[in-house]
């Protein structure tokens, strides 16, 4: 199968992941496009065995780069619009609530939560995609799930709005 067909088949899943990770469609499509550019550039050099995991790895690196480029405002209270959430009328309220909750997780916890919980990757694949030991996957996953539980239960009270560099 040609590169473009193989990759095309993976786009819907990549897009779902990007959408959940970034919290809105515009940023998700930016992330996806940059990922595909990078993937196609590298495809010529090396054909990956597990295409999905390889593309997700690519997306992980692009995501980190994008995070580095934009100044991050962290720790939001309920009245503060979450970082990446732009008003999107087509999204239902529940989706926006979840977007908002996810945006309050540190990006590395969000990635783990989504790779395991949404993309249903194995812990071993998740470790490879993120380039971390499997033990770290487990501890981070555990923290992410606890944090999301607390946020959704309204127990998570952020401290102060602050700018981190």
């Amino acid at each position: 199968m040609s590169a473009e067909h193989a990759i095309l088949a993976e786009i819907p899943r990549l897009r779902r992941y990007a959408r959940a990770l970034t919290g809105n469609e515009a940023d998700a499509d930016d992330l996806l496009q940059d990922t595909l550019e990078r993937a196609l550039g590298k495809w010529l050099l090396w054909r990956p065995g597990n295409l999905r995991a390889w593309l997700l790895t690519m997306m992980h690196h692009v995501f980190l780069n994008q995070l580095r480029k934009r100044p991050a405002l962290v720790t939001l209270d309920d009245d503060t619009p979450a970082i990446p959430v732009r008003p999107q009328q087509q999204d239902e309220l529940e989706v926006r609530d979840l977007d908002r909750a996810l945006s309050r997780l540190p990006p590395e916890q969000r990635e783990i939560l989504l790779l395991v919980g949404l993309e249903e990757l194995s812990y071993a694949d998740t470790a490879r995609v993120l380039g971390i030991p499997q033990g770290t996957v487990m501890s981070r996953l555990s923290r992410a799930r606890e944090r999301l539980r607390a946020i959704l239960a309204g127990e998570d009270r952020p401290v102060h709005l602050k700018v981190v560099k």
Binding site: L8, R15, D29, L98, L118, Y123, L141
Partner: protein, 256 residues
């Protein structure tokens, strides 16, 4: 057997379906006697269900053309070319959509807002702008009129109002009620601004009468000339605006 130790990691793995069948049964048995662990498992399962409920729709969503176009043009070309092709595709789609909308609008009943109202609103919206009153300044007048003429599909000239004490500030493209319109802005030495609103006339009216309207302090003289509708607006009394409007009218109709 239910008292066997089950680690937190195993509970996660149980939820994520990453245990062997044997281990999975062992954890299930443990949960029957461990309400706290059972509650955690249910919470995590609930989170996964939430994620799927919120984001699985992305799997069926149409993929933006920018993305597929980029992939398809990638095959034998370097990326820059692919990106350019994708960009042109987007432009093409945009033009297509606009053309469709245009057709739909032309078929629609006449707009509810009248020409002088629209002109007065445009005046009220854009004249207070200090830093960006216009998109293209008077220093590029040739470019400005060529651009707006192209968008309007009609040769547009910017009237000269120096004799009236007004100079051209520039212009911008605006939306009229059935397509593009243009707004030219003039200013006098005291900072008083006038706007000339130009758009295609879709009323198919043969009336070219010179009319006056006044709304919220904005005076407007408007008229229709062939297929173009014009409206000159300013926060001036009728009598002060009239001679300027007459000048504009004469110039645009070729005998000024």
């Amino acid at each position: 057997m239910n008292k066997e130790h089950v680690s937190k990691d195993q509970l996660h793995a149980y939820v994520d379906g990453q245990l062997s069948a044997t281990d999975s049964m062992r954890v299930a048995a443990h949960l029957a006697t461990a309400p706290d662990d059972q509650a955690s498992v249910e919470t995590w399962r609930g989170q996964k269900a939430l994620l799927h409920a919120a984001y699985d729709r992305q799997l069926d969503a149409a993929i933006p053309h920018t993305i597929t176009a980029r992939l398809k043009t990638q095959r034998h070309k370097p990326f820059r070319q692919a990106a350019i092709a994708a960009a042109w595709l987007v432009v093409g789609i945009g033009v297509g959509i606009m053309a469709d909308r245009q057709l739909a609008l032309n078929a629609a009943p006449p707009a509810l807002t009248s020409l002088p109202q629209r002109a007065a609103v445009a005046h009220a919206v854009f004249t207070p702008e200090v830093r960006h009153p216009v998109e293209v300044g008077a220093d590029q007048e040739a470019h400005l009129t060529a651009w707006l003429s192209k968008r309007l599909g009609h040769a547009l000239r910017a009237p000269k109002l120096a004799a009236e004490g007004f100079h051209l500030v520039g212009g911008r493209l605006i939306t009229a009620d059935n397509g593009p319109g243009a707004l030219l802005m003039y200013e006098d030495s005291g900072g008083q601004r006038l706007t000339l609103y130009v758009c295609a006339d879709n009323q198919d009216s043969s009336a070219t009468a010179f009319r006056f309207a006044h709304q919220d302090g904005v005076s407007t003289f408007y008229w229709i000339d062939g297929r173009q509708a014009y409206a000159l607006s300013g926060k001036l009394p009728r009598d002060a605006l009239l001679p300027i409007a007459s000048t504009v009218y004469r110039q645009l109709n070729g005998d000024g």
